[in-house]
């Protein structure tokens, strides 16, 4: 079973890379952007076949390693 995770910086945390991407896009003519925030995407292929159990495990992974909860939020995306 594959489970996806998206990690983003919390709203109040400065994202200088997102800012530079925003400025660059602006310079390219995409000038209707309010804000760009950069994040991380993970695909975890697990042997677990039970959806709830797999999600619970991935949540634990997020808390323990994948995200730093001081600055980041995680979102677990539905498995397939």
């Amino acid at each position: 079973m594959k489970i996806s995770v998206i990690i983003t910086l919390k709203k109040e945390v400065l994202d200088p890379q997102g800012k530079v991407i925003h400025q660059t896009l602006d310079g390219m003519g995409f000038n209707d952007i309010n804000e760009v925030r950069q994040g991380k995407y993970f695909e975890i292929d697990t042997k677990e076949t039970n959806n709830d159990k797999a999600k619970a495990k991935v949540e634990e992974m997020c808390k323990k390693l994948l995200a730093n909860l001081v600055i980041e939020d995680y979102k677990i995306i539905d498995s397939k």
């Binding site: 945390v13 200088p16 890379q17 530079v20 730093n68 001081v70 600055i71």
Partner: protein, 227 residues
């Protein structure tokens, strides 16, 4: 006095630290990250570098390596643990010191000498040191210290700020902040002050042939405090 320097895959300041510690009288041992046990130590150092290629977040992989459980136990039982640069990033990832180190505000790798003001001398690291301002070297891409407002209040209430970026006269102002750190914070302690994490490299300032002697001041003071 016995010290241990932990080498992770990608550490690159471990040998400099070894040279510095020996120069000021420590009997130092190099310890590999996959060892389970720490040798008997009066000081454990997590050195600078790029452990695990800075994958995921700087220091995040190293913080889960085998030796770190022993380091965490050692710190929690009052042992002296110092993390320099990547070592500081590893410390924040273990939770031994609060906060995180973000990408530098202006997205540049910064490599230069800076001045830091010692904020708190009531600890084994800085007690009796004969100056308030030290010139150290920094070389990092992720040294922008950040924590939540609640954490900052706690850090300040517990006098956990160790050093702040400043000018050579000790003025702590935004213009002397190289990387965007909250309140110019360059180094912090845990609550008990036995764990110190800092971005500057004292081991790069132990000889005039390098670029100064303020690291000598730091290490010679540290070993005499430990004795």
């Amino acid at each position: 006095m016995k010290s241990s320097v932990i080498t992770f895959p990608g550490s690159n300041c471990d040998r400099d630290m070894d040279v510095a510690l020996r120069k000021f009288g420590f009997k130092n041992k190099m310890v590999w990250h996959s060892d389970a046990e720490l040798p008997k130590s009066d000081l454990v150092v997590l050195p600078g570098g790029f452990s695990y290629g800075d994958y995921l977040r700087c220091g995040s992989m190293a913080s889960k390596s085998k030796i770190m459980q022993s380091v965490i136990n050692f710190a929690n039982s009052g042992g002296m643990v110092m993390g320099i640069c990547n070592g500081f990033q590893i410390l924040v990832e273990t939770g031994l010191v609060p906060g995180v180190l973000l990408r530098n505000k202006y997205l540049e790798f910064i490599c230069k000498n800076v001045f830091v003001k010692i904020k708190n001398k009531k600890n084994t690291y800085f007690e009796n040191i004969d100056t308030d301002v030290l010139e150290f070297h920094i070389a990092h891409n992720e040294g922008n210290y950040f924590c939540t407002r609640d954490q900052l209040k706690e850090i300040e209430d517990n006098e956990q700020v160790a050093i702040n970026y400043c000018d050579k006269n000790g003025n702590i102002e935004e213009q002397f902040n190289p990387n965007g750190s909250i309140k110019n914070i360059a180094g912090i302690f845990n609550k008990e002050k036995n764990v110190l994490g800092m971005m500057p490299h004292p081991e790069r300032m132990i000889d005039n042939y390098l670029s100064g002697e303020d690291g000598s001041l730091f290490f010679s003071n540290l070993i005499s405090n430990l004795k």
